[in-house]
Symmetry: C2
Subunit: 263 residues, 2 copies
């Protein structure tokens, strides 16, 4: 069991409740990463479902839970012949933190009838760049859990040269070797720095809701994350991330609606 | 009050329940259109919320309700200073039909900080084509409620010449003159024929879940719907629709996960 598997473990304690322990190793400067929290919720949902694969997940982020014990409450809304629908609530100290609707089904891995190509071609891995290690006092512990190698222009905001449009692209793998699975993908769709940094904005950009779809089971190896956005307006922005696996297959698609930071 | 306003009316009967009457005029060959049903749900949610604008809506389609009386049950999950979160369930004869999570907030109409352009340029309205009137026995009553004028290649599947990729693009307005509003947009994001028809597939393509974001309040006039998809695989496809208003502004973004038809 990897550290990530352990950090996302959900232990059933009754018909509708799972105990989880939120790991301080997934902090993004205080709050825990939303993708990590979705992975925890999905462990409970998948365990409870007759189907293995969370094909669609929507999470609303109501509050920011602290590291430590919490529960996932699952409510099976409907289970059909080929898909099941679950409501899941992450609760801490009796207070709901994250509300999710999840659809589970079984993906067979059949060849696609139609597949588009990535909207951007990534440079080779050796031309990509890593973020500098965060200062310990920043409490950005998430960075140590994964290796992100960025398409250089999309990280140029770090040195004051944003591209002027919302974008972020990187190769992704877990720091501790682990084949990607749906739970790793939940982390991956929310692993990039906010795409608005490339548009010249800064500051804490909290996710309000995030929907992602699991489209295929990822092949072992590096993932490619292609992130962008369409509109920054009225204090809100959208962030879309596509995850492609090492076999060149689209394995996940996400869109989140988030707040423009004030910092 | 337009026919659409009337068909989506929700009348509060107690703290958490609204009476609605599902209109047979929004049928797509038997089942009622998902966008219409979301508009009905949103009437109740917005009435109950301290905020006016449904900025994010996710609906899971569990069952297909029949025309006639139904209820929307709303549960306010959290109301903050600038956004509120609601769970809403469309119930008919005591049986849950559609489960939704909605985030409401207030959009001010400020100028965007950043906006992308539409991915496709539409031909002028006079070069676009309408679908033939459906046969009465098809029970496609939805078509009479709205006027869709299609970018010709994306409707060529009708005459056996699909483009080979998932796409559908059209100008949209209500048949009965009405300025677009968030409820009309809920209808608009699910108003196109399934994008997979252009990829050569046919048959009933039921939506399993749909998430859409209201990004700005639409200006009066024609809407432009730009629909596409990225992957058809394992019996599932994604359909993305962007809605642009007559002022050239991105007003809504949606993605749905749907089943490939068997017909």
């Amino acid at each position: 069991m990897t550290k990530f598997d352990e950090a996302t473990q959900a232990i059933r304690i009754d018909e509708t409740t799972y105990d989880v322990c939120l790991d301080p190793g997934y902090s993004i400067g205080g709050p825990l990463n939303g993708g990590y929290l979705m992975a925890v919720v999905l462990r409970a949902v998948v365990d409870d479902s007759p189907f293995e694969h969370p094909v669609s997940t929507t999470s609303q982020f109501h509050r920011s839970p602290a590291p430590g014990p919490a529960q996932v409450r699952v409510e099976r809304l409907k289970a059909g012949r080929t898909a099941a629908f679950t409501r899941a609530t992450l609760v801490q100290d009796g207070v709901p933190q994250i509300e999710s609707l999840v659809t589970t089904a079984t993906l067979t891995g059949a060849d696609p009838v139609y597949s588009d190509k990535p909207g951007h071609v990534m440079p080779p891995l050796e031309e990509c760049v890593k973020l500098p290690n965060p200062k310990p006092e920043s409490n950005m512990t998430l960075n140590a859990q994964m290796e992100l190698s960025f398409d250089p222009p999309t990280i140029a905001w770090l040195n004051g040269g944003p591209t002027g449009r919302p974008e972020s692209r990187a190769y992704f793998r877990m720091a501790e070797p682990q084949d990607p699975d749906p739970f790793v993908l939940a982390l991956a769709v929310d692993a990039l720095p906010p795409v608005v940094f490339s548009a010249g904005l800064r500051g804490w950009a909290p996710t309000v809701d995030l929907t992602w779809h699991l489209r295929a089971l990822p092949a072992p190896g590096l993932l490619t994350l292609i992130g962008g956005g369409r509109l920054i307006s009225d204090g809100w922005f959208d962030e879309e991330v596509e995850v492609w696996d090492s076999a060149g297959r689209l394995v996940a698609q996400s869109r989140q609606l988030a707040r423009v930071g004030r910092g």
